[in-house]
Amino acid sequence: MVEALPRNGSVDLAKAFDKLKRSIWVFHLNTGSCNGCDIEVLDVLTPYFDVERFGIKLVGSPRHADLILLTGPITIKTLDKVVRAIDAMPRPRLVLALGSCGVGGGIWFNTYSTLGGYPKLQELLKSLGVEVDKVVYVPGCPVRPEAIIYGVALLLGLAEPKVRYERVEAVEG
């Protein structure tokens, strides 16, 4: 599985990454989600938001895809399929972790049957030697279609992140 990876030519990879400014093809990967986020993903593709005008197209195989739209908390049952799907993608691999479940595991963050969000999957992928080039986390329960489009814009470097880590001291009253 790991040997089948493309040769890790960093120059080629950087070039490919630079070329990736628009017309990214997406593969929708449901990892045990409740279908809320999946419906929002569909919303983005239907005429109201119509991201196909930007060249963002839903494809049927991860081998054709630049970006994986990952929804759900990654259940143990889907885990090997998820790893295989991500491994099947050509480099550069991009992942958009959608929804509360995709980002932090949602209300299933510490249950026995889920991995609990994308960060844990990424650790696992690293140990398997599957490299993911860029990840953007899009929280929301479910994610708003606008938030998904904004997440893709952030991924391609077209927008600036709006939330930052904050540490505030409480004011004694």
């Binding site: 986390y137 929301g140 409480a170 009253g173």
Partner: protein, 136 residues
């Protein structure tokens, strides 16, 4: 996302108890009590907004919350920790002690207010025992 008012919040932890996905967590250590809000796990149910006794949590209509790093989605509110006067364990925030004192209108003396629940139980039991038997 929600916004926690650093002026109104007393760090009582009611929101932490009610939060279904435990997006809000509280960490008590020797120096400070940190109320953490992880947007990545929040399901935007507004249970914390409803339950907050100080009305410190506000709803906002921000939804474009994407981030490249998960740690960017973490918000922290730092309170001072008060230690128990008997056993010395950190147990509550200083603002919470003041708020309880204010609400009880002087019904609790300082010697009980700054004592942790376990020690307070022992102290009260001792007081009753002394009253009944007349022996220290």
């Amino acid at each position: 996302m929600i916004e926690i008012d650093p002026v109104k919040c007393v760090g009582c932890g009611a929101c932490v108890r009610i939060c279904p996905p435990k997006a809000l967590t509280i960490e008590v250590n020797e120096k400070e009590t940190i109320l953490k809000y992880f947007i990545g796990r929040c399901i935007f149910c507004w249970m914390c907004v409803q339950t907050c006794p100080q009305k410190a949590i506000k709803t906002t209509n921000k939804f474009e919350l994407s981030a490249v790093d998960v740690h960017e989605l973490q918000m922290e509110l730092v309170h001072n920790t008060v230690k128990c006067r008997v056993c010395g364990k950190p147990f509550i925030t200083s603002k919470f002690v003041k708020e309880v004192g204010r609400r009880l209108n002087g019904g609790f003396k300082d010697d009980l207010l700054y004592v942790c629940p376990t020690c307070r139980r022992k102290l009260t039991a001792k007081k009753i025992a002394t009253k009944v038997t007349g022996v220290e």
